[in-house]
Symmetry: C2
Subunit: 329 residues, 2 copies
């Protein structure tokens, strides 16, 4: 695999998979490492480590120095999934039992803790001159994810969440890891600060757009394409941008009806989803969220455009953005 030129998305993903296969996660005690192997083997799109490498490749031809940071980001991401699945009482992840369902909550807590440490072990293998900057970026990313998860849990207890609050939560829970991945890669690649800042901005808008798309897909997604039942967020009474924008459009009496409907746990799934969707339709929330998605993808593209490197180096990140923006409802 060439690592000394501008690579394609496939080549970057190949490097990532190669790196993941070589991770030192087959250790003792077995009970600690087995769930780690299971979690990493589960697959996924590997978007975050690919972003690390793609961001580095904007500025540098040599990508091996960015591999430790790329691996660190992917291991940390999977650690957060392990603990999130405990907190959300999730039974399945990528079609298989979650770690806490398979090995118990204690194992999922402890193996998650170990993965968090592993992420720092990996990061520590980065080139020493940039270690301090990388550690700073990684810590911001990590703390952002924790803060975002806390806000998400806090929102479950709140009747009203504003659009600003909701976007602020996504910026932490989803964008922090994407921004952080791009920042780490740019630092390893030797980017000037202005370009690092632009890439952080890219990740921020990419994360917001991506999460708002998820909010839409959960309601309007094609079951055949996405392979899961729609309306999951509605049934879980989750705040999404659809509920936030819908509530904005309602008068006090309607808002009380809507909130009562959302809280109603006795309604049949089909009825409840249909009635909530009627509220969404009346407030034209779908179109409003779609516009927000487009806006944030546009802002992400503008951020990429502002990075001061030749356009041919931006092809992969451009393609990643286009592919994401093209996720069909």
């Amino acid at each position: 695999m060439p690592t000394n030129s501008i690579l394609t998305a496939e080549q970057l993903t190949g490097l990532v998979e190669q790196g993941l296969r070589a991770l030192p996660i087959q250790g003792e005690p077995h009970g600690l490492y087995q769930p780690v192997v299971y979690a990493i083997d589960a697959g996924g799109k590997r978007i975050r480590p690919t972003l690390v490498l793609a961001s580095c490749n904007l500025f540098a031809d040599e990508l091996q120095p960015a591999m430790p940071a790329a691996m660190a980001v992917e291991v940390f991401h999977n650690f957060t999934l392990l603990h999130d699945d405990i907190m959300d009482h999730a039974d399945l992840r990528r079609g298989r039992p979650t770690v806490h369902r398979r090995w118990g909550t204690n194992a999922a807590i402890l193996s998650g803790d170990a993965m968090s440490v592993m992420a720092y072990e990996l990061l520590a293998q980065s080139p020493e001159p940039m270690l301090s900057a990388l550690l700073g970026a990684f810590n911001r990313l990590a703390m952002g994810v924790c803060q975002g998860q806390q806000l998400d849990m806090d929102f479950e207890q709140l009747a009203a969440v504003s659009q600003e609050q909701y976007v602020g939560m996504i910026e932490l829970k989803t964008s922090a890891l994407l921004s952080g991945a791009l920042e780490l890669g740019a630092i390893v690649g030797g980017a000037p600060q202005a370009d690092v800042d632009a890439l952080v901005e890219l990740g921020r808008h990419m994360g917001i757009a991506f999460q708002l798309q998820d909010d839409l897909l959960d309601v309007y997604g094609d079951v055949a394409v996405f392979g899961k039942q729609t309306g999951g967020d509605i049934m879980a009474q989750k705040k999404t941008m659809l509920t936030v924008l819908t509530r904005q459009q309602l008068d006090v009496a309607e808002r009380e009806q809507f909130d009562a409907l959302m809280r109603n746990a006795d309604l049949q799934r089909e009825q409840k989803v249909e009635q909530v969707m009627a509220f969404y339709a009346r407030s034209q929330a779908q179109r409003a969220v779609e516009q927000l998605v487009e806006q944030h993808f546009d802002l992400a593209r503008q951020a990429l455009a502002s990075v001061a490197v030749p356009i041919e180096r931006k092809a992969v990140l451009q393609a990643v953005l286009n592919k994401m923006a093209g996720r069909k409802l």
Copy 2:
């Protein structure tokens, strides 16, 4: 507070408390940081951060450069207590409800995760030239604690645990943090590698001796002095050095009797503790464990003696060892 000479134990603890009061742990979202403040405020002997500073003070007069590492170790230690208390279903910690009892398991998982990240944030404030070495030492410490906790849980499922296995578990679960604390301080102080190694050895034996003392205190401790009922380990069917050495002395038939007694959950507390203690007495396990404790404190003192600095610089660590060794049954 002077920080440019050889400090006393009280002065070191004063520096630690001052550092802890200045920790940036009053952030938002409130739900994330409130349990962190609660955990740090709970007190404790602050032995680990004091070891960081004392170890640095062996080699250097200026202790401020070691403060970030000292704080990192204390925050990480308290993080492990948060998650251990979930795994052990512990209701009380230092006389107050545990974090998961007060705010729920999800909060305890997530605030613990945040504390782990905070520990790395603090460590990252260490002097940059030694950051790579400090990060390496900290990662070893952190992974050791995770591995030790896993082994401790694994042992609950095993009928037989050898003396070597048990000591190996303690070396990870208890010694890793003490060794790591001494190592971090020595690195910041600019110690030569031979002295760093000696201090790691000191921490290893100190940890083993300390845990074996705990095993004894849980059975033979003076309730008036230690303020809790003895026999807790026996009732929780925990492996301790007393059970390990007792089983070694028994023939096959007696061993079956002993194992059955340990597993018996129907016996009254007083009866069960009395009968298990009779096995300990017959096998002279108490005296054997006391000898091991003395041996490991001796080895810790020898390790300290081998550190190539003037004896007056060693007064604090000598005093720490003597104070620990003097814990009365």
